[in-house]
């Protein structure tokens, strides 16, 4: 089995194309992390501050000038640029074509307006208004103080891994089909038993997925760390705040980490989420592997993978649509978090939005392993006969 594993691993990862794609991946990630420096070097237009003309009467009233600069604006006296004027209570803005800049200007004007009002009014009135608008409630048992930014970033991380791993569900299947079409199956099966061959394919499939996760996180981590060491990602975050509609007040990676406020508990949640994704991918790999043993041509192989990709896309969109505390704690969300394959995204999302009991996590994992055992018992004979047909 060791030979089969080594052989498959070598063929999958130590070939020219994979190495070439890995280099491409490193280049893309490097460009991502050093985008501000590259755009500065290339003197790209969006790297320059956006010139903005604000009527002198209005500008006098600006009390958040620094924030305008932080968001990428530069005050000018040239009226050919974006201009902002105010007649009575209406702001008139010209020459802004894109929605992101419009949103930023609106937010900055609103922020300025609120701060002015706050400073000019009687503070006790504001205090009264705040007290009138809100009540302090502390749900001791179920409440988890939500950090939307953190939540979104973790979901982004997990779904990225989910999609990255989708590539790998078909690798085992392709390998079996390649062995069949090159007529190597009879030769291999005179050297190892069908069961050894089957198990080695599952193990190598799982190892490949792990390897892919580790190597990708490794590359991201290394390049990200190098950027952090350079200038704590300052220019990059500024560029992101400037170009993207982020409502965060971060200017370097330190600020982003502070905002994320990652704890050990978050680490556990991400880890458990990864375990669920891995188990789900593992189940799909087994199913595709077994079906592949029945395939005789490359054309048939492509038709096997299609429905699985569709199911995985459905799971993704379902998980996104259920991605609120209310939906995930509802009947559908709860039930799906126990259903194998569906649980690979629904359970991690439940973990992020609500308190999930360890017994629930264990039960969901148990269901998945029960399904794996069932597949082994019921479908292994199909795999065996599929390979023997070829033999």
């Amino acid at each position: 089995m060791k030979t089969l594993l080594q052989f498959s691993f070598k063929r999958r990862f130590l070939n020219k194309m994979t190495l070439f794609l890995q280099v491409i991946f490193i280049i893309v990630i490097s460009i991502m992390f050093y985008f501000d420096k590259i755009s500065e070097f290339l003197n790209l237009e969006f790297n320059n501050p956006i010139p903005i003309y604000i009527e002198p009467s209005l500008r006098k009233l600006l009390i958040n000038e620094e924030e305008w600069k932080n968001k990428g604006f530069e005050f000018t006296t040239n009226k050919d640029s974006i201009t902002i004027s105010q007649v009575k209570d209406v702001y008139t803005i010209t020459l802004v074509n894109d929605l992101v800049t419009q949103t930023k200007i609106y937010d900055l004007l609103l922020d300025n307006h609120q701060k002015r009002k706050e400073s000019s009014s009687n503070s006790s009135v504001y205090k009264w208004l705040e007290e009138y608008r809100t009540i302090d409630v502390d749900f001791l048992e179920y409440s988890q103080k939500e950090n939307q930014f953190k939540h979104q970033i973790i979901i982004l991380f997990l779904t990225s891994i989910y999609f990255m791993l989708l590539n790998f569900i078909a690798v085992n299947s392709n390998e079996i089909i390649m062995e069949k079409t090159s007529h190597m199956i009879p030769i291999i099966l005179t050297h190892v038993t069908i069961k050894t061959h089957f198990i080695s394919k599952l193990i190598i499939g799982f190892i490949s997925v792990l390897f892919q996760i580790i190597s990708s996180i490794g590359v991201l981590g290394l390049i990200g760390y190098s950027r952090y060491q350079l200038d704590r990602g300052e220019g990059l975050i500024r560029l992101m705040v400037k170009l993207l509609p982020f409502k965060i007040d971060s200017f370097n990676l330190d600020d982003v980490f502070k905002l994320l406020d990652l704890s050990i508990n978050d680490g556990y949640q991400i880890l458990i989420g990864l375990v669920f994704i891995l188990i789900g991918i593992f189940i799909i790999q087994i199913l595709i592997l077994i079906l592949s043993s029945k395939v005789k041509t490359m054309e048939e192989a492509a038709s096997i993978q299609g429905p699985f990709y569709l199911v995985l896309l459905i799971i993704y969109y379902l998980a996104l649509s259920l991605n609120t505390t209310q939906s995930l704690s509802g009947e559908l969300g709860s039930v799906l978090s126990y259903v194998p394959i569906f649980s690979m995204l629904i359970m991690p999302m439940r973990l992020l939005t609500q308190h999930v009991m360890p017994i629930e996590i264990m039960t969901s994992i148990l269901f998945s392993f029960a399904l794996i055992s069932l597949i082994f018992i019921l479908m292994y004979p199909l795999f065996r006969d599929g390979l023997r047909e070829e033999g």
């Binding site: 030979t3 190597m184 009879p186 030769i187 050297h191 190892v192």
Partner: protein
């Protein structure tokens, strides 16, 4: 000893193999012959455990053949079965590793075989770059590399030139002399004549001939061949079984005594310059069986 007892295999309604029996001892080279689709490959796959037989048993050294027993078998399937993106050396190394014999004199064996099969300069060549005949020889080396006791070779001479066929036949004779059992199928009857010690002839899954080649020869009599440009017409009048084979005329006799008599007469004919006493060829045997 390899013993096949009454094995049968059906593919749906098609009877691929019916009550096939075979006993093979050390040093035997058994030719499995028959037309396309007669059940040769099914028999080989059954021996190698690649298909499950419907009935019957296969024993090796008086024990029921299982996976561990079959580790001592070397198999060469009919189709090209190679990872064409590997080099010759990598392919052999992979298969040897699967058999767990990589540290056991593997390098020497590889060098020996590629030398014997005239592939010495191809050791690190990608298999895709080799000719079909060379790939065929690599497949044969792959079957031999773990020094098996039984060789099951499905059409190993396909696609080989005359020189390569001689190399392969020599190698098989060497292997047989070492006490190995060789089961071989081929449509190249002339070479089978030279190589085999036993024959198993199949037709639609049924055994129609089975036994030692020398015994089968006795059943089919003896032949005398003379050059075709001789004045054979006069002589031939006395004979019924005459075959024209290129530059030779072949006279068939039911027994050796008649053949020797005829040989005496032919010796007197001055126009006969080539004269040969020999057994009936396997090809003719099969034709007679039809």
């Amino acid at each position: 000893m390899l013993e096949i007892q009454n094995i049968s295999k059906n593919y749906g309604k098609k009877k691929a193999l019916q009550s096939c029996n075979l006993v093979a001892n050390k040093h035997d080279i058994i030719g499995i012959l028959g037309q396309n689709g007669c059940g040769k490959s099914t028999l080989f796959k059954s021996i190698m455990g690649l298909i499950e037989v419907d009935s019957g048993n296969i024993h090796y050294n008086y024990e029921l053949c299982d996976f561990n027993q079959r580790k001592k078998f070397g198999y060469m399937p009919e189709q090209r079965s190679l990872f064409l993106d590997l080099t010759l050396y990598e392919q052999l190394k992979f298969l040897a590793q699967l058999k767990g014999m990589i540290s056991n004199g593997f390098e020497n064996l590889v060098d020996m075989y590629i030398d014997r099969f005239d592939l010495k300069d191809k050791k690190h060549t990608i298999l895709n770059k080799l000719s079909k005949g060379q790939q065929q020889k690599v497949q044969l080396i792959a079957a031999l590399i773990h020094d098996p006791d039984v060789l099951v070779l499905d059409e190993p001479l396909n696609g080989l030139d005359f020189y390569s066929v001689q190399l392969v036949m020599n190698e098989l004779r060497i292997q047989a002399s070492k006490g190995k059992i060789i089961l071989i199928s081929s449509h190249q009857m002339d070479f089978m004549d030279e190589l085999c010690t036993h024959l198993l002839v199949l037709e639609n899954g049924q055994t129609i001939k089975n036994g030692k080649l020398v015994e089968l020869y006795q059943d089919y009599g003896v032949c005398v061949s003379v050059n075709a440009d001789s004045l054979w017409h006069n002589i031939s009048k006395q004979h019924k079984n005459i075959l024209e084979k290129g530059s030779m005329i072949e006279f068939h006799f039911t027994n050796l005594i008649d053949a020797k008599k005829a040989l005496g007469n032919f010796c007197k004919e001055p126009t006969i310059t080539t004269l040969k006493l020999h057994n009936v060829s396997i090809g003719d045997m099969l034709k007679e069986g039809e």
